[in-house]
Amino acid sequence: MKGVYVMSRISATSSQTVNVRSLLDEKRSKKLKVRKLENIIPYLLLLCALVSILTTAGILFTLLRETVGFFSEVSIIEFYTGTNWSPWSGDFGVLPLISGTLLITVIATVVAVPLGLMSAIFLSEYASESVRKTIKPILEILAGIPTVVYGFFALTFVTPILQSIIPELSIFNALSGGVVVGIMIVPMVASLSEDAMNAVPNSLREGAYALGGTRLEVAIKVVVPAALSGIIAAVVLAISRAIGETMIVTIAAGATPSLTMNPTDSVQTMTAFIVQAATGDTTFGSIIYYSLYAVGITLFVLTMIMNLLSQYISRKFREEY
């Protein structure tokens, strides 16, 4: 069949004179059409890129809209100065949730910053290249473990161990949750600080060694100060992660909103409240539903401030070599 078709085509073209110009024109117009089509492509791609902006706009819109709804029923002053949080009986003072979040964050920072920084110094200044290349990916496994697994670990392993040391510790407590949140953010502190230290040029180290410095002195007095902006940015970013952490504190720290700085108490964080309220039957438009967003926007603003601070520090105080 195909042969017949080709034969007929050849006979057709040979019988007519081939118009080369028309073929060229045809080709050119086809090319132009393709080019025209290509001119639309950047706009289509831009449309996709705008999805991320829409997401941010959507977050701000939902948080603001529902929060405004909330503050039409509960006064904003009562919300931010009240010391009693029991939403199911109508008390909306958010301070206990904020103090719970702060307590967890402080404990996590106390655990993560020394461990993370010391690991970073070891990896960057002491470890050989092969050791560094083995340990760093293993540390990063820690960062990839789902938070629900950490929560399980905190409740069933860390809490019993802590209870054997501190007998009056309740099953749900801020200490265990905070420690495990700290462990979770160690890889972040270590990895980002190590990157910052690695970026310090070797000539600085060699200069300090030539002056007779020991490895420790070079690390503490030369490398760390030179990388300080990167290190602080890493720590601030990790703190922001700790503030927004949800599952570990929901599982291990309990659901008792209380204005306390005692790490052995059970506390409730902002994130844990959002989970608790959303798991229960929360009807659309009820006061509890709105309170989710008032707490959500507080959380969002807190983490956003930390993120912007981290970016500002790393941009503003960066030492260029």
Binding site: L46, S52, I53, T62, F122, G144, F152, L216, T246
Partner: protein, 285 residues
């Protein structure tokens, strides 16, 4: 005096070195203990029955099957949405975006989105997908929420992959008379695919472990049928694990540990595939 001073400095260095080393070891030790704990508790409950069963009121009969199916279906939605939008965004930012305020704004915005707590994405999904779009507590709402959550990671990793294609390759393509779009589709993308794929798999493995946003957009805790369509009720592995962990009886902890083993094995497989793709197909220029 001089030598004594030197000796103490050297000693200090040695002491601190072992301190730094032990800090690293402590972090690693936590990982080891975590794995040990999970495996020692969950191994006894892990069998074929556990993997293929539905949730049950007795720990011996409980299973994680609907969670596995739900997680995989959810990731299917996420992959379709986030991959399409993510790669398009990355191509726009790397190849087309003019040097103007809008491009800069998109860039900064993506960086900031990556730092927003996942639970806030849950609130976004609750208002928009569950209520305003009227999807309800269904698979599609969860999938779209999760897609937005991992979108920044997909964009950033795709950008890095596109950037790693050297300029000479592009110029050669232009030199042969290819148009910009032809160069992108036939030269740059094929060269960047291993990097993009690795980034996508890693983003999906982040998504598969996420719990909080899905609780907010209403993934069910116990369902006895598999999700059949985009508008079915669903559950995912982390939520089943969370529910088992939250029960007071000790046996449920073992069930939770068994569930964690399944989740970790799936994550490990995904990561292994990502590393394999990177090592096997990445062209170095």
């Amino acid at each position: 005096m001089e030598t004594k001073n030197l000796k103490s400095r050297v000693l200090k260095n040695r002491v601190m070195k072992s301190l730094f080393f032990s800090a690293t070891v402590i972090a690693l030790l936590f990982l080891v203990m975590l794995f040990y704990r999970v495996f020692s508790q969950g191994w006894g409950y892990l069998n074929l029955n556990f993997i293929t069963s539905f949730p049950a009121p007795y720990p011996e009969e409980a299973g994680i099957w609907p969670g596995i199916v739900g997680s995989l279906m959810l990731m299917g939605i996420v992959a379709v949405v986030a991959v399409f939008i993510g790669i398009s965004t990355a191509i726009y930012l790397e190849e087309y975006s003019p040097q103007n305020k809008l491009s800069e704004f998109i860039r900064v915005n993506i960086q900031n989105l990556a730092g927003v707590p996942s639970i806030v994405f849950g609130l976004l999904g609750l208002t928009f997908f569950v209520y305003l779009f009227g999807i309800g507590y269904r698979l599609l709402a969860g999938g779209l929420t999760m897609a937005l959550l991992i979108l920044p990671i997909v964009v950033v990793s795709s950008q890095e992959a596109l950037r790693s294609v050297p300029a000479e390759v592009k110029e050669a393509s232009y030199g042969m008379g290819a148009s910009k779009w032809q160069t992108i589709v036939r030269v740059i993308l094929p060269a960047a695919v291993p990097g993009i794929l690795t980034g996508i798999i890693l983003s999906l493995s982040r998504g598969i472990g996420e719990t909080a946003p899905l609780i907010i957009v209403g993934a069910a805790t116990a369902i006895y049928t598999l999700p059949e369509s985009l508008l079915s009720k669903y559950t995912v592995m982390p939520i089943q694990i969370y529910k088992w962990t939250a029960r007071p009886q000790e046996e449920w902890q073992f069930v939770a540990a068994a569930g964690i083993i399944v989740l970790l094995v799936i994550l490990l497989l995904m990561n292994a595939i990502a590393v394999w793709i990177r090592n096997k197909y990445q062209t170095r220029y």
